[in-house]
Symmetry: C2
């Protein structure tokens, strides 16, 4: 039997690398095992290539404002899809390389292979048994593709394959409008493809607030065909291996060249051997994980990142790994307070939720404040005057608890509000902030003032009591 | 003698309108007097038309990234300056109209004319004497133009006349690179004009931090000719009334068609009769004003907005007016706590200062944290990877005290930091914030971590202690 390692990390994605960073500080007796290509989901097939594509699409789409701005010649612009995708891969390769630096220096401590648990403290990789005092599971996730669709072969794309395409055909369907589906459907449509999107539910992009969802849906419908409340099924449109796909929902039908399937991601836990741990697994095969310690039940095992299906977000995966890396090198785990919730979809206008979402509010008591951006001064000057922002606050105290928005500058305002919510600030506290002029954040101030009008008045000597001018030039 | 009014407001700009909003709530016995066109500096000749122009220039300039993104045809784009300026005026007219609504409803209480103080409680307008228990001075400001340059007539432009031009000539000089000079020089250059800018000092855009100033200056120099440390003088280049202008500094000389003079703004206090108040005026002719009450000495007179030369910023002018409007209707004035300092220049990258600027720091103790955006992930995906952000914090406590930046997303990060500084938050508090991935704010986090490394370690159980991956894809 091999000498036991202090820690084995299974998976070298974001969570695994964050765990590695902490483990390395505390012991040299560790190994990290990775199945498939090294490099994180984020860098290889997630955040980074998708944002490289989204930014190209945003830049190209800006041309629809050019005539209004007094800029001629926009008709001559053309998005060269092979060139767009080539740049995405070039950037991606650089981002992937940046993530490899942490494991390249490890020598034999970095093991390529598929790990399988044999029980608490035991695992197998490449036919070899390892013993580990602590195990960190950070095996990540992969796109969900219904089994019956796999026969469609290359006619089906996921984010695992989308960015590998040399080119994309004219007619595409996007199935599923969560964060990834919305970002990709809008980006591909903006880059000139004819996109038809199907979403089983009537809410998109993880939104809960019906007003924000309605605005977001209507704005996206102006750019591509969007069928909400339509569960789609796929079938080959013809016999050829490279033929089209028939997409059919209850009331809609379309034949397209390729389909991007964006139905979410599934934890990579198949054949991982979780059943050997002797603890109860849920219906999805997942063990119980404490989000404050990342510990699995009371075992010396920690489960992090997409694998634990808690929140498939990079910053949460990094925190998971950080916590697990520390706790896997201690006799007793320490408990961490998690960060305020924050979710962003990089559409345009951006979609974001910070703090509590609409669904988790007490409908009987929560106050809501709202602003629409059609008449907002800066948004008009920038030809970006579309969208809505809704804020939620406690009655009487005016403490901000959450927000949902589809608004220009959403990703920035969401950080400002995440700070406010995380610090338990009130509407009044936020109205003490200097709002420079003219900025999108003045729209946020309008929503704050909408809330302030529902709260007890503040002292006469407090600038937070400043009211709106009700003049576009000034608010 | 007329029955005395409770309040007379002199000037219907932003400060005057803010005062009016509060006065109206408390008395009907008031008047507001305005000299020249009604409508605010902001709407007529300031923030709003300048931002309409800046946004057109930004949209047009984005084409330099198009080839890299995979978008062809950018060479066919042309900025049609008459069309650009026409849109600016169209938007401006709407913004001005929005500011007129507050005074249009006042009937005879809104007086067009030039007011002159005759003493405490007495003033004259249109040859008629008014008595007022309280007077609010909100006369605004106008662009500084050296007397000897006025002979150059229409060859000289200021923001009062720039947006009125049907077209602009190819060769322009910009004299003075404060906020307005930087915004306009960059915008005009981006719209295709050949711009040569002179700045007497070597620091631009109100910056104090030499590193930030250096980056900002170098980035602007890539777009137009910028001579820093060169005080310019102007002379007619030929005898014709519509001829050019010779701009000459100690070591540089250029002949241009028109010159935009952006040397700052001067309070409108000439012939206002401040000398009749019986109090000492400073060398500029300004009386002492308490920024917490807006009161002039101990008189029932209040001085607000650009006129008091405190800070020529819209949000400060609005606060000034708010305070004065309340205090002019009270027996004893109440003191207001002012907001955290915030200044933004809408260049690209944006320039911003929140809280204490670099010059006001104690050089022996203040800590600085820094990030450059060349390798920042999101900035690279967006082809906006230029700029620098510097944060200042107290030693030991790590309390954030200020920042200066020339960075992508500056206007948004400046609001986030203004909130943090206004709430006396620490580096540690800010590192508790969720930073979504990938966003420009992760650059700000890098600067926070740079500060954190100079501060005592935080508890092992605190996510604020999460360190960087030192991988572009993840930080």
């Amino acid at each position: 039997m091999n000498k036991p390692l202090d820690v084995v990390i299974i998976g070298a994605g974001t969570a695994g690398l964050a765990a590695l960073r902490e483990v390395k500080k505390r012991t040299t007796n560790f190994a990290i095992i990775n199945d498939g290509p090294w490099g994180t989901i984020c860098a290889r097939v997630g955040c980074m290539p998708s944002k490289a594509l989204v930014e190209a699409a945003k830049a190209f789409h800006r041309r629809i404002t050019f005539e209004e701005f007094g800029i001629h010649g926009a008709n001559a612009l053309a998005a060269d899809m092979p060139a767009v995708l080539k740049r995405v891969r070039k950037l991606r390769d650089g981002f992937v390389a940046s993530t490899l630096k942490m494991t390249e220096v490890l020598g034999k401590q970095a093991i390529s292979g598929r790990a399988r648990l044999l029980g608490v403290g035991r695992l197998e990789v490449n036919g070899r048994e390892l013993h580990a005092r602590n195990i960190i599971i950070a095996t990540g996730s992969r796109p969900v593709v219904p089994a019956s669709w796999r026969a469609l072969g290359e006619r089906i794309l996921t984010t695992d394959t989308l960015f590998e395409q040399e080119n994309l055909p004219t007619n595409m369907a996007v199935i599923g409008l969560g964060a990834i589906g919305v970002e990709m459907a809008q980006a591909l449509s903006r880059l000139g493809l004819n996109v038809t999107a199907f979403n089983e539910s009537n809410t998109i992009a993880g939104l809960h607030d019906p007003k924000v969802n309605e605005v977001a849906t209507e704005l996206l419908k102006q750019e591509f065909t969007l069928y909400g409340g339509e569960k789609a099924d796929l079938a080959a449109a013809d016999a050829g291996a490279n033929g089209g796909v028939r997409v059919r929902s209850k009331t809609k039908e379309v034949v397209v060249d390729r389909v991007l399937v964006s139905l979410g991601r599934r934890p990579n836990i198949d054949d991982l051997g979780l059943e050997t741990l002797g603890i109860e697994l849920d219906t999805q095969g997942l063990p119980p994980v404490d989000p404050h310690t990342m510990q699995v039940a009371d075992l010396p095992i920690f489960m992090t990142g997409d694998a634990n299906k808690r929140k498939a977000l990079l910053h949460e995966a990094a925190d998971d790994g950080h916590i697990a890396g520390i706790n896997a090198t201690r006799a007793t785990p320490v408990r961490f307070e998690r960060r305020a919730p924050l979710a962003i979809v990089f559409s345009e206008p951006g979609i974001a939720i910070a703090g509590s979402n609409y669904e988790s509010l007490d409908p009987g008591t929560a106050l809501t404040g709202e602003v629409r951006f059609e008449r907002q001064g800066r948004a008009r000057a920038a030809q970006r005057n579309k969208g809505i922002l809704r804020l939620y606050a406690q009655p009487v105290t005016g403490r901000l608890v959450g927000c949902e928005m589809c608004a220009p500058g959403a990703e920035h305002m969401a950080h400002l509000l995440a700070l406010a919510i995380g610090r338990s600030l009130t509407v009044h506290d936020m109205l003490r902030l200097p709002f420079y002029h003219p900025v999108m954040e003045e729209g946020l101030r309008t929503a704050l003032r909408d809330l302030a009008a529902q709260l007890p008045h503040c002292n006469e000597s407090d600038l937070a009591g400043c009211e709106a001018f009700h003049a576009e030039a000034l608010d």
